[in-house]
């Protein structure tokens, strides 16, 4: 499983923001392949959220690992984003 940290957070943020610029009503971020994010990864999510606010896009985090769920809780980021257990729930909810 991958990690989003200071080595790749910039590219991660740029990719998210490029997707948001297409102004979809919802962006589902599938976290199944991510083991954990450090503060750089989480702050990249915040940059994406700020761009999403401008384009009225809702970001949903899907299929976080157990470790990722813990990181979201420890950082307080679980209060910022809706977290879905499955892609179906993320897309349909």
């Amino acid at each position: 499983m991958g990690t989003v940290d200071q080595t790749n957070a910039d590219a991660f943020a740029q990719h998210l923001i490029a997707s948001i610029k297409m102004a979809p009503p919802k962006l589902v971020l599938d976290l199944a392949g991510i083991g954990v994010m450090t503060s750089r990864g989480l702050r990249a999510l915040t940059l994406a959220e700020r761009a999403a606010h401008t384009s009225d896009t809702r970001i949903v985090l899907a299929r976080p690992s157990a470790a990722m769920r813990e990181v979201l809780a420890i950082s307080g980021y679980d209060m910022f984003f809706r977290v879905a257990d499955s892609l179906e729930d993320a897309i349909g909810g």
Binding site: T3, D5, Q6, A9, D10, V36, T38, S39, R40, L42, R43, T46, L47, A67, E70, V71, I74, S75, G76, Y77, M79, F80
Partner: protein
């Protein structure tokens, strides 16, 4: 080198209510489950070794003041928050034991009131023959200290202090030999700026004091300079006042940082120990303990190399490095 924490709160000193003690005693009695203690020593050992820290002890409420003690020579201390009163009294006691000069070196992170409020109560400043040198990255440090002792704010004017008080402005990127230590500083993001300090002793042990530093979300690429500054440090004392979520939302631009940014910077820098510092004054002992537990878990989840030892500073903590 010994690092002594005399004040670990940010913003405002706090003091427990009467009910805080009753709560702790009640929780301790429940934990004791009717156990009998032969004497006070046994009871103390139970409180200190078997109870959760937030029940048997507490994190204290004095504002920022951290001593860097090389064991000889002049006394060295970071900031003059309300914890400086006890520091000052303790140094006078140590002077009475002999072998140290009546000389104190302060290193100021910045000039906000929680970091200067203790100076009017720093007893050595009233001692004729004492030498007090205040080092700061700020050229207006003397102005800030004099201002807080103007008559409108305080009954004892700055000029009544009998010690020989000198102010020295330091430059980031330069190393200074001060007493037994080599000292360098780095500018940090905070209103009116703040400065972090790195202290190295003759054996090569190093400690970093980095409080009141914000890591802005639009300047994350600049964090590499702090990583370089703290590289390989034996102890990093870092501002961990807010959750990451708070630091990027309602408390953005308030000039502080989070526990998980501190862990990440220390991991990247290969630092050995991190002391959580500048505790939010609204946090109870239980809140701070919970934050410490969360930080330990985060360090474990994100560790890729050597383990970072995460301490939670409290008034009275002494760390040997």
């Amino acid at each position: 080198m010994q690092i002594r924490f005399w004040g670990t709160r940010g913003s405002l000193p706090v003091a427990p209510h009467a009910s805080t003690f009753s709560d702790k005693i009640a929780d301790a009695l429940i934990a004791a489950q009717g156990r009998h203690f032969a004497d006070k020593q046994e009871a103390l050992a139970f409180a200190q070794d078997e109870l959760e820290f937030a029940i048997g002890q507490g994190y204290g409420g004095a504002t920022s003041c951290v001593e860097v003690d090389a064991g000889k020579g002049a006394f060295v201390v970071c900031d003059m928050g309300s914890g400086v009163r006890e520091f000052g009294l303790d140094t006078l006691r140590r002077l009475a034991e002999g072998n140290r000069p009546k000389e104190w070196h302060f290193f100021m992170s910045h000039l906000h009131w929680d970091h200067i409020m203790g100076f009017p109560f720093f007893v050595p400043a009233f001692v004729d023959g004492a030498k007090v040198i205040v080092h700061a990255g700020h050229a207006d440090c003397e102005e800030a200290l004099r201002r807080q002792q103007e008559e409108i704010s305080f009954p004892v004017p700055f000029d009544w202090l009998k010690a020989d008080i000198e102010f020295r402005t330091l430059t980031p990127g330069t190393e200074y030999e001060i007493g037994e230590l080599t000292v360098s500083l780095i500018e940090q993001e905070h209103s009116h700026a703040s400065y972090g300090y790195r202290f190295r002793d003759a054996k090569g042990s190093s400690a970093v004091y980095s409080t009141d530093a914000e890591y802005k979300i639009d300047k994350m690429h600049e964090e590499s300079s702090m990583v370089e500054f703290i590289a390989g440090a034996d102890l990093v004392i870092a501002d961990t006042m807010y959750s990451l979520a708070d630091s990027v939302s309602m408390k953005e631009d308030w000039g502080h940082s989070s526990n998980i940014v501190a862990v990440d910077l220390c991991h990247e820098a290969g630092a050995k120990r991190l002391a959580l510092f500048h505790h939010e004054p609204t946090y109870s002992d239980a809140d701070i303990q919970r934050m410490h537990a969360d930080t330990l878990r985060y360090e474990q989840l994100t560790r890729t190399g050597a383990k970072l030892d995460v301490l939670c500073s409290y008034d009275g903590l002494c760390v040997e490095i």
